[in-house]
């Protein structure tokens, strides 16, 4: 062969070989590019699911794996893909890896493994491989074979924990959705969701059970109905206009509507519409919440009623104040004229009449001031139950025979801070009102009971958990009209004839109960009757109480009573003072009449008893008692004197109707005298008696011999 020809042939073949090699390389390159794109797409898809992907070609040779596969099996894919391919990692080493890490070797796996050996590296295309492995970081993964169209095989590696977490997450979401739905269904507030459509309508897409019950709708009947149409079905013209205005503005708003449904008349509701906008700022939904505001409305009414009564109270106080000024002048001059006419009984008689009239006027003012809460409340502690029981005798004569009268009270003591007279005043007014409401007879119940926090009216429920008792006066009378109920506490408001009532009774009760930190609730039904419930706060303070008896002096005590002791002899003052303190009395000690006056002025409570020496410098005991009785009209007085009997004192004339104890003071006798005067028991027998021969001792017995006592 011509060497040149041979060389030419060599070049031609060489060129063809190079061309073939380049073509082959190009094909391989494009194939790889295609595979890479395929992997890239899968990579993106698997990033969402978190699964690993491994591919082998039909010759069981490794083709590619995604990053998740690398993460699951980092010790298998220690090198980059091109080195792996060069090194010839094949399906066998992949199976071995799975076998080494399997947590439960599946029969399929062994079978598959065997078959893969049989075909000595050729993939048969019908693999049914599924195995669970534990990866290097302890996570459980499912490895599943998936034959590919080109005869290769892919393996999907799914993180079981991850899948489980996702499933749990979905379950939790479902659970949360269900709970949310149940909560919306269970709530007592009505809920409605509407969706705005292109025609400007707001179609109902959701309503909860409360909404349906409230407006008597069936869910399916109103689904996809226009909100305005619903409004036409149940509401009036005002509601429709208001709703149209809110919907037009697209900003939401609320409407208060009065709606009488089957269960409750006079109910008030608040419909609050909140708009929801889409991403483009277009109105998409309205969420409407309907709340029952009947109680709030009732409370508002009560507050405004209370404010009205306060204003009336201020007005009444103003009128009372001016009236009081005028009355003071009349009263003052009457008293001065009485002093100037001491020797003229006819004039004194006329003046007494003026004084009686001014006293009546003063009493009226007191009642007006009581309503306006401008009067001192006497702060005695009383057992309300016992006080009520004691009133029966007083109340019975007010009622006629056609009225059945019942007094009920718990036997447990219920202490409140209130004067006994106050309770009497309250009861008499309420009982007379109840009687007048039953012209044809009926039943009247006066009841006192303990009221726990649950049964308290909302106005009185508080965090400090103050406890209350309730005094209830209930009748089976005519009941009170709604428009009258609103005004019954107004001063001078009355439905009675002019000569029967001033219209101040209930105003006064209102003021008294308010001053005591309590509340009045009126429960009335036309034709059925009325119950006036008065709530009084209970107190921990001990009530004033006298215990013991004349016969058992040692047991006598005067808990909570206040005595003003005026005695110029320090030792005797201290001795008597201590003695009375031991008997539970609060003792104010004065060394003379002026200090006694000063102590009275300074003391803010009620003084029950003045125990005073008769002969004292400057202001004697009788003068002191005379002045103090003007300031403390209910105060009782006992005079102490070194002279053994009345009239023996050269300086001071003790009034004949006063109570007197001679010095030296005998402990037991003083206690008996105080007991008598404070309980009003047998006080007549004490008057004018020398304590050494008290009648309760001497009657039918031998005269008691003089005992040793204390003297100044």
């Amino acid at each position: 062969m011509d060497p040149q020809f041979s060389l030419l042939m060599f070049y031609i073949y060489g060129f063809l070989a190079v061309l073939l090699a380049v073509s082959f390389a190009g094909v391989v390159y494009f194939q790889l590019q295609k595979a890479n794109r395929y992997i890239c797409a899968l990579e993106q898809a698997s990033a969402v699911t978190g699964c690993g992907l491994v591919f082998f070609d039909k010759h069981s040779q490794f083709l590619d794996a995604n990053t998740h596969a690398h993460a699951f099996m980092p010790d298998l894919f220690v090198q980059d893909h091109s080195s792996l391919r060069r090194k010839g990692i094949n399906i066998k080493s992949f199976f071995n890896y799975c076998y080494d890490h399997a947590v439960d070797v599946d029969d399929n796996f062994v079978e598959t493994l065997g078959r893969s050996y049989e075909v000595s590296g050729e993939v048969s295309g019908d693999y049914n491989f599924w195995e669970v492995i534990r990866t290097h970081n302890g996570r459980l993964c499912v490895v599943e074979a998936q034959p590919l169209n080109d005869g290769g095989i892919g393996f999907i590696i799914l993180d079981v924990d991850n899948v489980k977490e996702r499933e749990e997450h979905v379950l939790r979401l479902n659970q949360a959705n269900r709970e949310l739905f149940e909560a919306i269904e269970a709530t007592t507030s009505g809920m409605i969701i509407t969706k705005a459509d292109e025609n400007g309508q707001h179609l109902v897409t959701f309503v909860n059970r409360a909404f349906c019950e409230l407006f008597a709708f069936e869910k399916e009947d109103i689904h996809l109905k226009d909100l305005l149409e619903l409004c036409r079905m149940r509401g009036g013209e005002y509601l429709l206009k208001r709703l149209q205005s809110i919907l037009k503005q697209e900003k939401g708003g609320n409407i208060e509507l009065r709606y009488d449904n089957n269960d409750k008349a006079n109910s008030w509701y608040d419909l609050k519409l909140t708009p929801v906008y889409d991403e483009d700022g277009q109105l998409e939904l309205y969420v409407g919440i309907v709340s029952d505001i009947s109680e709030l409305k009732a409370r508002e009414k009560e507050v405004s009623n209370g404010q009205r009564l306060d204003a009336l109270g201020q007005l009444a106080a103003g009128v009372a104040h001016d009236f009081n000024n005028v009355l003071s002048i009349i009263d003052g001059y009457t008293r001065l004229t009485m002093v100037a006419n001491e020797g003229n009984p006819k004039a004194i008689g006329y003046l007494e009449k003026i004084k009686t009239a001014t006293d009546r006027g003063a009493n009226l003012i007191k009642r007006m001031l009581t309503f306006s809460r401008h009067k001192i409340v006497d702060e005695d502690v009383i057992d309300l139950g016992e006080t009520i029981r004691d009133q029966e005798q007083l109340l019975q004569p007010l009622l006629n025979a056609s009225i059945k009268f019942n007094i009920l009270s718990d036997s447990e003591p219920m202490y409140i801070e209130c004067g006994q007279d106050t309770i009497t005043q309250i009861l008499m007014n309420l009982v007379v009102n109840a009687r007048d409401a039953m012209p044809h007879g009926g039943a009247l119940f006066v009841e006192v009971r303990y009221c726990d926090q649950k049964s308290l009216p909302k106005e009185l429920q508080s965090e400090d958990e103050q406890t209350y008792c309730v005094l209830s006066v209930a009748d089976t009378g005519t009941g009170i009209e709604a428009d009258v109920v609103e005004r019954i506490f107004d001063p001078f408001f009355t439905t009675k004839d002019k000569d029967k009532g001033t219209g101040l009774g209930l105003s006064m009760i209102y003021g008294l109960v308010k001053q005591n930190g309590g509340l009045i609730k009126v429960d009335t039904k036309l034709g059925r009757g009325t119950a006036m419930n008065l709530y009084f706060p209970l107190t921990d303070k001990a009530p004033k109480a006298i215990t013991g008896s004349f016969e058992d002096v040692d047991e006598i005590s005067f808990d909570g009573f206040t005595v003003l002791l005026s005695e110029d002899e320090p030792d005797l003052r201290e001795l008597v003072g201590n003695m009375l303190e031991e008997r539970g009395m609060n003792v104010l000690r004065a060394c003379d009449g002026h200090e006694a006056l000063y102590l009275e002025d300074d003391y803010e409570g009620k003084i029950d008893l003045l125990l005073t020496d008769v002969v004292m410098p400057e202001l004697n005991g009788v003068e002191l008692a005379d002045l103090l009785c003007e300031l403390q009209p209910e105060m009782k007085v006992i005079f102490m004197s070194g002279y053994p009997a009345r009239g023996q004192s050269a300086h001071v004339d003790i009034p004949l109707d006063s109570t007197f104890i001679a010095k030296p003071i005998v402990h037991e006798d003083l206690i008996r005298i105080i007991y008598g005067i404070l309980t009003n028991a047998d006080s007549g027998t004490l008057e004018g008696q020398d304590i050494r021969t008290p009648r309760w001792k001497s009657e039918g017995h031998e005269e008691t011999p003089p005992r040793e006592g204390y003297a100044s």
Binding site: A320, H321, N324, N325, L327, S328, I329, D331, G332, Y333, R335, L336, V339, T358, A362, L369, R373, H374, K375, I376, V377, H594, E595, L597, Y598, D601, E604, L619, D626, L627, L628, E630, L631
Partner: protein, 131 residues
């Protein structure tokens, strides 16, 4: 009538003429001989300024138009911290009594009052003045 109140020089501050006259009569009955009158707080302060140290007791109504009794007392205390002051009040709720006491009155008396009640208050004031 004893002369225990003979040394008292009293200024009555009261907006109502009849009430002032009645108070004057009562005081006269009690033996007070030196009684002066002012119809409102402003005139009362003018009187005190012009006749400083002359009077030794003020009897003043609580409720007066313009300057109230409490306002007068506050002003008075800036020039004379110790001049005895008897407040006459138609109000008798506990809050008013506490307010009257805390504002520094020497004593207070409630309307309507009798000559004896007024006498008791004057005695208390004398006792406090002597103490």
């Amino acid at each position: 009538m004893s002369d225990q109140f003979a040394d008292l020089k009293i200024l009555i501050v009261e907006d109502q003429g009849e009430a002032r006259a009645m108070m004057r009569n009562m005081l006269t009955e009690l033996g007070v001989t030196q009684v002066f009158e002012a119809p409102d707080g402003r005139e009362a302060m003018n009187f005190i300024d012009s006749a400083f140290d002359f009077i030794n007791l003020i009897i003043c109504d609580w409720n007066m138009p313009g300057m109230s009794g409490v306002e007068l007392l506050r002003q008075l205390r800036t020039v004379d911290p110790s001049l005895p002051f008897l407040m006459v009040t138609g109000r008798s709720d506990m809050e008013s009594v506490v307010e009257a006491k805390s504002s520094g009155v020497t004593a207070y008396i409630r309307k309507p009052f009798s000559p004896k009640q007024l006498e008791a208050k004057l005695r208390i004031i004398l006792y406090k003045m002597a103490a």
